[in-house]
Every structure is written in C-alpha cells, then in structure tokens.
C-alpha cells in the first residue's frame, strides 16, 4: 500500500485484439482518486474491453494497467481486493431475494456482519420492502440499484460501471445517477462507460472519448467545449425537451 498518491487507475499503451479485430490500439488513461470519469464511445469501441482488462477478466496483448497501484497482471488478487465491477447487465441472482444477494456478496467479501450490511444497503437504496422478494420480480431500475448496492460491499476504492443505465427508463436512470453521485461523494473512484453523451455531461468530472482503439480526448466538460469554436450568441425560443415534458406529466424526481 505504498500508493496513496498514485492515480486510482493508470493505463499506458494498452492493446488488445480479438483474432483479427484490433480493438484497443494503445490506450492511455489516468484516473485520479475520488473522481468520476466517463468513458465515451460508440458500440464496439472497446469500452467493455478496457473495463474487463481492469477487472482482471481478460489478458491484454501489450501495454500495462494498474488499479489502486497494483498491476492487473502481476497483482491480480490485490486488484480484485480494490475494485468492484458492475457489468453491462445487472449481474444479480434472480432466484435469490434482494437481501440474499447482498448477504452473498458480503460473505464472499469476507465481511464481519453480512446481515447488517445487507439491511443498511437495502435502506440506503430504498429497497427495504423489496428486500424479501425474489429479484426476478424487480423492475430494471431496482435491479440496477441492487447491482450497485452489491458493488459497494467491502468499500472497494475503485468501482467500474459498464453502461449502468442502458435499457433503463428516465426515472430509473436518475435513480442510478443519484447513486453514482453519492458514491463519488464518499470518496470512491468511479470509471463508467456510457453511450449517452448526456449521462457523461451530467455525472462525470472528466470525460474520455475512446475512438478507433485510442483515447482521443480526455478532459473536463469545459475543456472539451473549448475544443470547438466559441459559441455564437443567437436568440432562440426555448422549447421544453421531451424529458421536461415527461417529468412534468409524471411529476416525479426532477433531475438536478
């Protein structure tokens, strides 16, 4: 643990091919501790490949990556101790109840009091009533919340969220966003992938764009905006967005 000052994630020259498909062609990326970084890219750009490499789920062809100061190849066990992965599909056990899912993960993370941890998280993610029901009966948003709650067990310092809101309705998306913000507020480093530009804009401290196997830009939203010519001032009538309409009609949980 000599690495308190090292970046939470440090990637240099990472390359990966699947057969002839050269997905990652030299990815460089640093993520500072306690920040939320969004990895943007179109489908098939290699976002999930990066997440899997960082989660020690696949071996890369060249370059290196470290998480929390541990090399993903040499110190894979230490990396797994430092991270939590929330994959592209809510990886929850449908046959178990929400509470049992949490207890399962707490046991596997060798926590002292799995039952209390589960109850606390159920409450924090507004799942207390649903906790006794099988996950098969949950809505998409509830599954994702449970999924994220499971990732928090054992207080990993780095959390990977692979397309956390894909397939969710707008309300559920905002619930997930709020959970993610809460995480970062607690000092956790979050690397999330998304195809939704709005999501990156809304959540991330920094945004990295992955294109054709490389990170082509990496900066804050303001920095990215400066890449374009200065905004022209035009006067236009402000139309409500569909989202504004939707929430006005449904009348719940305004996005902040």
């Amino acid at each position: 643990m000599t690495t308190a000052t090292a970046p939470a994630i440090h990637i240099t020259g990472l390359e990966k091919s699947y057969k002839k498909l050269h997905v990652l062609r030299g990815v460089d990326l640093d993520v500072e501790r306690g920040t939320i970084v969004a990895l943007l890219g179109s489908n098939g750009a290699g976002k999930t490949t990066i997440i899997k490499a960082l989660s020690t789920l696949l071996t890369t062809d060249a370059g290196s990556a470290s998480v929390n100061g541990f090399d993903v190849k040499a110190d894979a066990a230490d990396v797994r101790e430092s991270i939590s992965l929330t994959g592209q599909f809510a990886a929850v056990d449908e046959i178990l109840t929400g509470r049992e899912n949490l207890v399962l993960i707490a046991r596997l993370r060798h926590q002292a009091d799995p039952g209390t941890i589960a109850d606390d998280l159920l409450e924090r993610f507004s799942l207390t009533d649903a906790g006794k029901r099988r996950v098969a009966t949950y809505s998409g948003g509830m599954r994702r919340r449970l999924d994220i709650a499971m990732s928090l067990i054992g207080h990993p310092s780095v959390i990977f969220l692979d397309e956390p809101t894909t397939g969710l309705d707008p309300e559920a998306r905002i619930e997930v966003w709020n959970s993610v913000k809460e995480l970062a507020a607690g000092g956790t480093t979050v690397l999330l992938t998304t195809q939704y530009l709005e999501e990156a804009e809304h959540l991330a401290d920094r945004i990295a764009i992955l294109h054709e196997g490389r990170i082509i830009v990496n900066g804050t939203l303001a920095e990215l905006k400066e890449l374009l010519p200065p905004a022209k001032v035009e006067y236009i009538e402000k139309q409500p967005t569909l989202e504004d309409v939707f929430f006005a009609l449904v009348g719940r949980k305004e996005a902040k």
């Binding site: 046959i95 046991r107 060798h110």
Partner: protein, 253 residues
Amino acid sequence: MTTHFVGDTAVLTGRSLRHILRSPDTIITTAVMPIAFLLLFVFVFGGAIDTGDVPYVNYLLPGILLITIASGIAYTSYRLFLDLQTGIFERFQSMPIARSSVLWAHVLTSLVANFISLAVVMVVALVIGFRSGAGVLAWLAVVAILALFTLALTWLAVIAGLSAKSVDGASAFSYPLIFLPFISSAFVPTDSMPGPVRWFAENQPVTSIVNSIRHLLMEQSVGIDLWIALAWCGGILVVAFILAMVVYRRRIS
C-alpha cells in the same frame, strides 16, 4: 487465494443449493424419466427378458441409477451457463475470492442434487419390489461408485456449460450419455446381442459399472469388473477435469 477456498466454496454451494430448493422441479424432472424407464421395463418389457433367477427389477436398477445421474448432470451445465450469461460469473471472478470455488460449488451442488434424485428413484424401486440383502460395506461401495460416476460426468458437464453458446447446447451433450446404458448390460444381458454390438456393449464404461453395482447389491463377488469400473470413472474424471480447467482458464483470461 487458497486461504478462502473452503469458505468461498461453501458460500457459493449454499447459493446454488438454494436454487435447487426453490426450483425442486429440477429434481423431479431428473427423476421422472428414469422412473418411467423403470416402470416401463419392469412391467412391460421385463417379462420377456431372461435374467435367470434374478428378479428383473433387481437386475435393472443399477442401469436406471446411472441414467438418473446422466440426466441430472445436464442441470449443472445449465446452471453454469446461466451464471455466465447473466454476468454473475464475471462478477464473482472479479471479486477477491478463490476463483475456482465458483466451479467447485457447482460440482458439489451436482453431487447433492443427483443423490436426492437417486434417493427418489430408489424409493420407487423399493415400492415396486426391489430388494437387496447387501451389507453396509457393499452399500457404501455402491454409493462411492455412484459418487465417482457423478463427479466424472459433472466435470464433463462443466466443460459443456463453459463452452456452450445456447441453453440447448448446454444440456444437449447429456443425451448420448443417457442413451449409453441402453447399449450395455443394463437392460438385457449382453450375450443376446449380435457380434459388434456385443463387443461395444461389453467394452464401454457403463457395463462394468452396472455389473459392479449389481454384484454388490446381489451379494455376489464383484471381481475384475469393479477395477474396470473404477478405472473408467477415474479416467473420465481426470480427463474431464483437466479439459474443464483448460476451458475455464481460456474463459477467464
């Protein structure tokens, strides 16, 4: 890594046992087909099959037990395949656990589930007249052979579960295994079969295993069959385990 192996395996085994408890249909469907065969052969075909002075139900049961196991292990590949599909396999693999315990939990669950199915089949056999005067040691030997056979086939099921592309593919591999006892000494004595079929029947693993169990239950001397049976089970177990590990390594790296 290995420090948590026992604990992690226990936790994950508890998880998949809970799956079985919540969908007991997997036990029922495993046991239904062998029981149907048992009834069909004992009450319909059995009268026409000459097994000397051994009651046909006693003759038939060992083969039925093997069919039970062959159909039961398909659920192991099914459950493993679902774990891979839902992403929970990757979640486990990205956690600080002894990684291989994910597989071992499925293997232990297979043992438990198959023995419950075997017990159900045994009860039906007892009801329709199966009797054995075998002693405790002989019964223990039978249980050990069945456990070894289950383990060997379960590791085959692990290979299928890890490499399947669809749910159907994950369980289809077990069909030939279910069929194998039909071309063995399980249903009829092999001396009635024509040359090449008889040769195959007498030299495939099921015959030696069936003969060993049958002799143990009928209080006869087991002889060389037992060693052949153990060699087959042990051999399949070792080969399947090594192949499963190769497939597994490829899957997680």
